[in-house]
């Protein structure tokens, strides 16, 4: 599981980790039943405070993305799939908000923006 942490980011580190893991689950690079590293192992790998990893894992548990099994570790939850979709949509929503804000700054209206998205989608599909 390759994660990376960006300190100057603005997004709190625990959230970066939680989002990346949600991403991996959404992209099926982590599937239900896969184990994610113990807190202290991930903390050592990423060279960050274990409390930060703990907070990320708590967030993931809360969101139903992972489940902690007593004494035997933390695993991607079976109910991963329907939630994965919701998570995927949430991640895209955040990106869409950024895009809309930037379009606003650049004075590109919605019409033009949608047109542009369609154009890019067609280009990429070719």
């Amino acid at each position: 599981m390759q994660l990376h942490v960006n300190t100057g980011d603005g997004v709190p580190i625990y959230l970066q980790i939680a989002n990346q893991i949600k991403h991996l689950v959404g992209a099926r690079r982590l599937v239900p039943g896969d184990e994610i590293p113990p807190i202290r192992v991930l903390a050592q790998q990423l060279v960050i405070n274990p409390n930060t990893v703990a907070r990320a894992y708590l967030e993931l548990e809360r969101a139903g993305v992972v489940i902690k099994r007593h004494g035997s570790g933390t695993y991607v939850s079976e109910q991963g799939s329907p939630l994965a979709r919701k998570e995927r949509l949430k991640i895209l929503s955040q990106r869409i908000d950024s895009l809309l804000t930037e379009a606003g700054h650049l004075e590109i209206n919605d019409e033009e923006l949608f047109k542009l998205i369609r154009e890019r989608s067609e280009t990429l599909r070719r």
């Binding site: 300190t7 903390a43 990423l46």
Partner: protein, 304 residues
């Protein structure tokens, strides 16, 4: 008679210290809870090492009090020092000793020295037992120093600029060793540094020092959440810096100005609007930016 179990590893109240005319510490108060990683940030000369010397009992408080695990380090040096693993910035290690001799020698001072742990650390740090200390590279010296501070399992790990002068690879090794300690043993760690991205990765709580004063302290999350970087755009270019109350620092020119602020978001936006500006971007600043902004404004934040 040992002190009752305290929740705080270190408690400093109103500590003041003068060297000739210079106020090295100016009414410093800090509370560091057990089991936390505490980052002490500040540029060289801010007072970090002076503060650390008080914790070690090397300096006696001129005004104010210092307690380590409930004890006065000046009055009870033996009891306090046996609980502190200290890595000094200078890495004063006896140049002529071999690494294995150094381990045996240091181990003799500490009843809690764990020979197995010392050996594990020596291997992990790739230190040749037969090498003389004077032949060690800077990075190896730092690791040797850290080994000595860790091997007797002290309750408090006190590190003065542990990454000073080291390349990124060694810095990472050292940070990793510190994290391992925290993860495995829930020890209290205090480290001073001017490398703020290390603080961001590793600290639970932080304090920033500037000219002997604490200008900021609190849980890292809260400090970050309480600061923001705002970019303002003005219709007409401004010839001089806009005066925005609540901004710790302002830089820019013409139409675009960037502020670093702490709290009072609504007032800042209103002030900007009154001057003809609007907010075009708002983000959480890095700790570096917060530090520079605070140093520039030299304003103390209300305690978190």
């Amino acid at each position: 008679m040992s002190a009752p179990e305290t929740a705080n590893a270190v408690e400093i109240q109103g500590l003041t210290r003068k060297f000739k005319d210079k106020l090295a510490l100016d009414n410093v108060s800090l509370r560091i809870s057990r089991g936390r990683v505490f980052g002490l940030a500040g540029e060289n000369g801010a007072g970090k090492t002076t503060l650390i010397k008080h914790i070690l009992g090397l300096l006696k408080a001129e005004r104010g009090t210092v307690r380590v695990f409930g004890l006065d380090p000046v009055a009870r040096p033996a009891e306090v020092l046996k609980q502190i693993g200290f890595l000094s910035e200078n890495r004063d290690l006896p140049a002529w000793m071999r690494v294995d001799e150094l381990l045996r020698y240091t181990g003799a001072f500490y009843p809690t020295w764990d020979t197995t742990l010392a050996e594990q650390l020596r291997e992990r740090f790739c230190l040749d037992p037969s090498a003389r200390v004077k032949t060690l590279s800077r990075g190896e010296s730092a690791k040797a120093g850290l080994l000595l501070a860790l091997a007797f399992r002290p309750d408090l790990l006190l590190l003065d600029e542990p990454s000073s002068g080291l390349d990124p690879i060694v810095r990472r090794d050292i940070l990793e060793a510190i994290i391992r300690t925290v993860a495995d043993e829930g020890r209290t760690v205090i480290f001073s540094t001017h490398l703020l991205d290390e603080v961001e990765r590793v600290a639970d709580e932080i304090a920033m020092m500037f000219h002997g004063k604490i200008v900021l302290s609190g849980p890292l999350d809260e400090v970050k959440e309480n600061h923001y970087r705002m970019v303002l755009r003005f219709e007409t270019p401004l010839a001089v810096e806009p005066k925005i109350p609540g901004a710790l620092s302002i830089r820019g020119s013409g139409q675009e100005w960037t502020l670093i602020c702490n709290g009072g978001r609504q007032q800042t936006i209103e002030a900007a609007t009154r001057l003809g500006g609007r907010v075009v971007a708002e983000e959480t600043p890095s700790l570096d930016e917060v530090f520079i902004a605070r140093a520039a404004s030299n304003v103390s934040a209300p305690k978190a």
